[in-house]
């Protein structure tokens, strides 16, 4: 047994796959220990906040210390962030209409452009042929760039409780900075939020864990059924073999996805938890394992070491346990990994079709995909809602397939060089 493990770990492919999988597993286990927030808590008001570090604006203004930093190009950056390229082009368009010669307008020079704008823009001016919507747009641009070039700070005022009058309470200069570690409320959303306003990353970590669990449960069930039926059919043979073969063939001709959908549907929305889905996937995907195990056992059954074991008076159970199982164990282990990765994909398939686990406490990779689909994240370009999920599914199945390929090279003498 130890020898087998050493052999497996001598394969580079197996080790690579194993490291990727263990990395994911470590993330699943460690992340909730460090960040204790419930993964499905709705924290954002609004949908699809982009990934980033969210700093409380209130707290940053009220930060205990402010630091003055004189950084080059701070003003230019500020202007550039406010004044987008399309706005500049629009401004130029308006200015040309207003009678400024086109060659005098340089949209790359924000300073000049803004001066020209301030001199010429008149919100009341009616331009011929311009829609009202377009006029409103220019008014909005004008409002946005008001005071953009001013070097003054912003004044913080508090309302007097009695009179309601504003009184200056402080000023924020343009060169004022706060240290983010001194701001009490900061939330890192590495993958933003989803349509319900939940942290996508926390959700993803939990979903990987749940999906792996579904995969393992389904894989163990499928491999267990497959192994038992395959051993019976292969070793006992005769009528038992015929019956098992008949059942296997029936399952084989019906596409397992159809079967999966029908069973999931008939189980009903109410009782379809993550575990139920895992069981349903497990009981529909044992067919290939059965076939493969049966074929292996049939070839082993007539081997001389089995005959010798019989001649030594060993019981049926002892022969299966001692002379058959150890020989196919490496194969069954590979089949198990394959089943796990297939089950994870099957869960994703089912969930996208809306037949996945009915749950509001745990996410799965499939459910995350489904939510992203329903809220059209892919059409709105909110990549963070679905792309990391895709990557995770790919990474899990890739690492598992890599492990199998590695094991195959170790255990299958024909592929060994």
């Amino acid at each position: 047994m130890r020898h087998t493990f050493r052999q497996a770990f001598s394969s580079g492919k197996f080790v690579t796959g194993f490291v990727i999988l263990m990395g994911l597993l470590l993330l699943v286990i460690l992340y909730p220990l460090i960040f204790r927030a419930p993964p499905l808590q709705i924290i954002a008001q609004g949908t699809f906040f982009p990934p980033g570090i969210y700093v409380s604006a209130y707290d940053s203004i009220n930060a205990p210390t402010t630091y003055t930093l004189n950084l080059d190009g701070a003003a230019a950056k500020r202007v550039a962030a406010k004044l987008k390229d399309e706005d500049r082009v629009a401004m130029k368009e308006w200015l040309v209409v207003a009678g400024v010669p086109e060659d005098q307008i340089d949209i790359s020079d924000a300073q000049k452009l803004l001066t020209l704008w301030a001199e010429n823009y008149d919100p009341a001016k009616q331009v011929k042929g311009m829609t009202l919507a377009r006029q409103r747009y220019f008014q909005r641009v004008n409002n946005a760039i008001q005071g953009l070039l001013s070097t003054e700070g912003a004044i913080i005022a508090v309302r007097q409780p009695e009179s309601g009058a504003l009184q200056e309470a402080g000023a924020v200069k343009q060169t004022d900075y706060v240290n983010i570690s001194e701001v009490p409320n900061v939330r890192i959303l590495p993958l933003g939020t989803d349509n319900f306003g939940r942290d996508v990353f926390a959700q993803l970590v939990r979903a990987i864990g749940v999906s792996l669990l579904i995969g393992i449960v389904a894989g163990l069930i499928a491999t267990g059924i497959g192994l038992v039926l395959g051993l019976l059919a292969g070793y006992v043979g005769g009528a038992v073999d015929d019956v098992i073969n008949f059942i296997t063939n029936i399952f084989l001709v019906i596409p397992s996805l159809v079967l999966l959908i029908l069973i999931s549907f008939s189980v009903g929305q109410e009782s379809r938890g993550a575990f139920t889905v895992a069981v349903v996937i497990g009981v529909t995907s044992w067919v290939w394992t059965t076939r493969a195990v049966r074929a292996q056992v049939i070839s082993l059954r007539n081997r001389d070491h089995v005959n010798l074991s019989k001649l030594s008076g060993h019981s049926l159970f002892r022969i299966i346990r001692g002379d058959i199982l150890p020989y196919i164990m490496s194969y069954v282990f590979m089949a198990l990994i394959l089943q796990i990765s297939a089950a994870i994909l099957a869960e994703a398939n089912l969930s996208i079709l809306g037949l996945g686990p009915r749950t509001t406490d745990v996410p799965t990779l499939g459910l995350m995909m489904q939510w992203a689909m329903i809220y059209q994240a892919h059409i709105l370009g909110k990549w963070w809602a679905y792309f990391p999920v895709l990557i995770s599914i790919t990474l899990i199945t890739f690492s598992m397939n890599l492990m199998i390929t590695g094991l195959d090279q170790v255990f299958n003498p024909q592929l060994r060089n």
Binding site: D304, N307, K310, G322, Y327
Partner: protein
């Protein structure tokens, strides 16, 4: 061959007629009437063994000779009770053989044992040499013996085939060479002391130099235990060398049988003649014009 016969061993006059033991009363050990094995059904039906009758006497060395596909291995497996008999009866020591339950089978296998062709696939690669030998002690009812007694038995069995148990204990069979594995197989038989031993091509996978050793141990074992030895082989030369009685098998049937000298030196059936004619020899000329 025009050259002088080189170094030919002085040939005794060819013995025609019954083998030497005919003088005393021979006890039938294993016999069968109309033994048949049919594989598959419908169009894929193949008759592997076709109504064969045989009578193996106690203490004899018997060879069943046939080419691949002649059904000799199937017959051997039926004799061993590893596969069922489609039709016909096998009698063991005059009684109709009954292996209907696993208990009866275990009882039967105390009397009949086998050595297989390929020593490399005859052992479970996951169990140690000790387990193989301890199984034999258990089968002889010695599972309650004290440990020293068991080790003594195993050591004795190993030294019978010139192996040292002390060097083998806690090792796995695949750590041995082919010849050593086959010797260990004989040590196993030595412990079991069955009445009948079926040796299915016991020397075809090992080197010529070790062949004599294996055959010597088998013969020594037969003399010691007094068992009936049944060789299953494709090598007609080996059959001639080791056996008292030879059965020639073709397409599931015995075409010729009798004492080794009678069958090999004065074959009657065309198949036997052809077989003998096609085997390369070293004293007689090998006539290539007859194919």
């Amino acid at each position: 061959m025009s050259m002088n016969e080189p170094l030919r061993p002085s040939a005794p006059p060819p013995q025609v007629g019954p083998p030497p033991q005919v003088g005393r009363e021979k006890q039938t050990c294993l016999s069968g009437t109309g033994v048949t094995k049919l594989f598959g059904f419908g169009r894929t039906k193949t008759l592997a063994v076709d109504h064969v009758d045989f009578n193996f006497h106690e203490g004899e060395v018997i060879s069943i000779v046939g080419e691949s596909g002649s059904g000799k291995t199937t017959l051997a497996k039926m004799l061993l009770g590893l596969i069922s008999v489609t039709e016909g009866d096998i009698y063991f020591q005059g009684q109709k053989r009954d292996i209907s339950s696993s208990r009866k089978k275990q009882e039967y296998w105390k009397n009949i044992q086998a050595i297989f062709q390929d020593p490399f696939s005859s052992y479970n690669i996951f169990s140690k040499i000790d387990d193989v030998l301890l199984d034999c002690i258990r089968m002889r009812g010695g599972q309650r013996l004290p440990k020293e007694e068991k080790v003594k038995l195993m050591t004795e069995a190993c030294s019978f085939v010139n192996l040292k148990f002390a060097e083998l204990t806690n090792k796995y069979p695949f750590e041995l060479s082919g010849g050593q594995m086959q010797r260990l197989m004989i040590a196993r038989i030595f412990l079991l002391k069955p009445k009948i031993l079926i040796a299915d091509e016991p020397t075809s996978m090992i080197d010529a130099c070790s062949r004599a050793t294996i055959l010597d141990y088998l013969m020594k074992l037969r003399d010691e235990v007094g068992m009936t030895l049944i060789f299953i082989t494709h090598d007609i030369g080996l059959a001639y060398y080791v056996s008292d009685t030879v059965f020639i098998m073709e397409k599931g049937k015995f075409v010729e049988s009798g004492s080794a000298d009678a069958v090999i030196l004065t074959p009657q059936q065309p198949y036997t003649k052809r077989l003998l004619n096609d085997v390369p020899k070293i004293y007689e000329e090998w006539d290539l014009s007859t194919v």
